[in-house]
């Protein structure tokens, strides 16, 4: 028992070190005004400043790329929920086969590389619907697919935990339409899953590089990659801030889930 506990703490410590050491290194590079080859334990607390970060944040290109990424992330989360929630609710109610097909489809982004997705997407829509290629918002459907393995699982868990059939029948017997049933019965009862799915979609978009790069859209990850050559400290600083935000996002979605369940 005691040995197992020590082992658990050891694993936790290794994970902690594995996660924290690169973070600390990144923070030191971004926020300490000391040449990289002079960084050591001796000057761990010296010359900390966020000047390079502030300078970076002032860049108009940063603002436009961050703004675009946030808009894309919000649009992706919204489209994901608008498509997934009713579709998966219907699948849960009416067809186990449909549920399996959706589940299988949701794992495709794991096996289909982003480059294949972009080539297919561009080939299909370049002539038929060129606005999808031209507009940065053409990325949204691709991002919805990319985030599907995570968002699907979150919604699936929420729906599986409900006695959906009874709740829907009860709602309809009380006179509610399908729209009202979805909005006022299903959605409030899977709000924790919806929040988790939305957060996950958001974070996937905020970190996605390949698709945006191949379709030449100047999203935040692309700008960060470009800016590493201009202001590497600022770029790493923003990267660190993004990682922290993402961690807080995921943690708060888990917390929200717990609050809703109790």
């Amino acid at each position: 028992m005691r040995r197992g506990r020590v082992g658990a703490w050891l694993v936790l410590f290794i994970v902690f070190v594995y996660y924290l050491v690169p973070m600390i290194s990144m923070a030191r590079f971004a926020f300490q005004r000391i040449l990289v080859f002079r960084l050591s334990f001796g000057n761990l607390f010296d010359k900390w400043t966020i000047d390079s970060l502030i300078e970076f944040l002032k860049e108009p290109e940063f603002r436009s790329s961050a703004s675009l990424s946030i808009q894309l992330a919000v649009a992706t989360a919204a489209l994901t929920l608008a498509l997934l929630v009713p579709t998966m609710a219907v699948a849960h109610l009416r067809s186990k086969r449909m549920r399996r097909i959706i589940e299988l489809s949701s794992t495709l982004p794991f096996v289909v590389p982003a480059i294949a997705l972009v080539v297919g997407f561009a080939g299909a829509f370049r002539e038929t619907l060129p606005i999808l290629i031209r507009s940065p918002f053409g990325l949204v459907p691709l991002y919805v697919i990319t985030a599907l393995p995570f968002t699907h699982r979150a919604i699936e868990n929420g729906l599986a935990a409900l006695d959906l059939r009874t709740l829907v029948d009860a709602s309809q017997s009380l006179g509610a339409t399908w729209y009202r049933t979805v909005m006022f019965v299903i959605v409030p009862n899977i709000r924790a899953s919806i929040a988790t799915a939305a957060f996950l979609a958001f974070t996937v978009v905020m970190g996605e590089f390949t698709i945006a790069s191949l379709l030449l859209k100047n999203t935040l990850p692309l700008y960060l990659s470009y800016a590493q050559g201009q202001n590497p400290q600022g770029a790493f600083g923003v990267g660190l801030v993004l990682i922290l935000f993402t961690t807080i996002f995921v943690a708060s979605s888990n917390r929200l889930g717990k609050v809703v369940r109790t």
Binding site: D169, A170, Q172, T177
Partner: protein, 364 residues
């Protein structure tokens, strides 16, 4: 406005399984009819067809003489209480009760007044701000009943609403349902597989098997005069005794000398179709309370028996007795006052066959 509910030749299949076959039933205004049968007999399917959750393959369902099949579930004006707790978990008791009224855009003052009335009706006035997980299963089902009544439905459908409750609460809620149903005067269909529940709550019982109606009648009629072997076996306990048919009025316990009067026995599905034939073997299905302990010298005595087991049940006692010289076990039930004997005692029994059923063939 409520109305008479009528199922006319309703059939429904799921793949190759026939859930309902030419189902014909009418429920009068203010009446409570129970659909009783084993799992898979089609009783819940009948309810779901009426509620609009399943379309029938053929036939019609009407309320007040008007077919409702063309209406979607949310337009039928039918209140339903489900087997599983169906309260919306994210809403309080009051909000659950208001749900249907909000859908109908009923003014806030009216909603508040109606919620007050309903909470009083189900005796839960103090729990209006609780969430479903903060009240007991019995209270949840009472709220579900009140919620179904909140929209003033034309018909009330109760799909095994007591099956998730423990025995004591079940009886309490059952009586509540009956009281509230009588007070509201709404035509009600109650689905259960529990025959005791059906006998206690119903104006009429519709016994079902394999998607078909076996018998429809008042609880005492269904219990006392089962029209088929299935009803006799499913509703209450029954002794299944092999007899040799000697004439149209007499039979003899198989392998035994004592004769039984069978002139008044029902014939059920078997004998009605030429079932028990003179000279053949038949089965006498008789309730334990229709087998009586009689004095040894009684002219009515049909057989001498030995008491094998006694089951004390408070006001009533049941006993299994073995007919001497055979391995026939017969269960008898009577008031505890009349059952004053011990295991191993010799007793004489008489069969009161007026409410028994005589069917063709040897024991199953």
């Amino acid at each position: 406005m409520t109305g008479k509910v009528e199922f006319s030749k309703v059939s429904k299949s799921f793949g190759t399984v026939k859930a309902l076959v030419d189902f014909d039933l009418s429920i009068e205004e203010g009446e409570l009819v129970t659909l009783l049968g084993p799992s898979g007999c089609g009783k819940s399917t009948a309810l779901r067809v009426a509620a609009g959750f399943e379309p029938p393959d053929s036939g019609d369902v009407s309320i007040g003489g008007v077919s409702i099949l063309a209406q979607s579930a949310n337009k039928r004006g039918i209140g339903m209480v489900f087997q599983n707790y169906s309260l919306f978990p994210h809403l309080t008791v009051t909000q659950n009760l208001e749900f249907g009224m909000r859908v109908r855009n009923i003014a806030r003052e009216k909603r508040t007044a109606r919620v007050g009335e309903l909470l009083e009706l189900v005796r839960l006035s103090g729990l209006s701000d609780r969430y479903p997980h903060q009240i007991s299963g019995g209270q949840q089902q009472r709220v579900a009943l009140a919620r179904a009544l909140a929209v003033e439905p034309r018909v009330l459908l109760l799909d095994e609403p007591l099956s998730a409750l423990d025995a004591t609460v079940r009886i309490e809620v059952r009586e509540e349902i009956r009281r509230i149903q009588r007070a509201s005067g709404i035509a009600t269909i109650f689905v259960t597989h529990d025959q005791e529940e059906a006998l206690a709550i119903s104006d009429r019982i519709c016994v079902m098997s394999n998607g078909k109606i076996e018998q429809v009648g008042a609880p005492d009629v269904v219990y006392r005069s089962p029209s088929t072997e299935f009803v006799a076996r499913f509703v209450g306990k029954v002794n299944d005794i092999e007899v040799e048919v000697l004439s149209s009025t007499k039979a003899r316990l198989r392998g035994h000398k004592h004769e039984i009067e069978i002139a008044s026995a029902g014939t059920g599905g078997g004998a009605a179709g030429g079932g028990a034939v003179v000279g053949g073997v038949a089965r006498l299905l008789i309730r334990p309370e229709d087998v009586q302990i009689v004095r040894t010298d009684s002219a009515r005595a049909n057989a001498r028996c030995t008491v094998k087991t006694i089951h004390f049940g408070g006001a009533t006692t049941t006993a299994d007795v073995e007919i001497d010289g055979t391995t026939h076990l017969v269960r008898i039930a009577d008031s505890t006052r009349n059952m004053q004997f011990r295991v191993g005692d010799a007793v004489h029994i008489a069969f009161d066959t007026e409410r028994a059923l005589l069917t063709r063939g040897g024991a199953a």
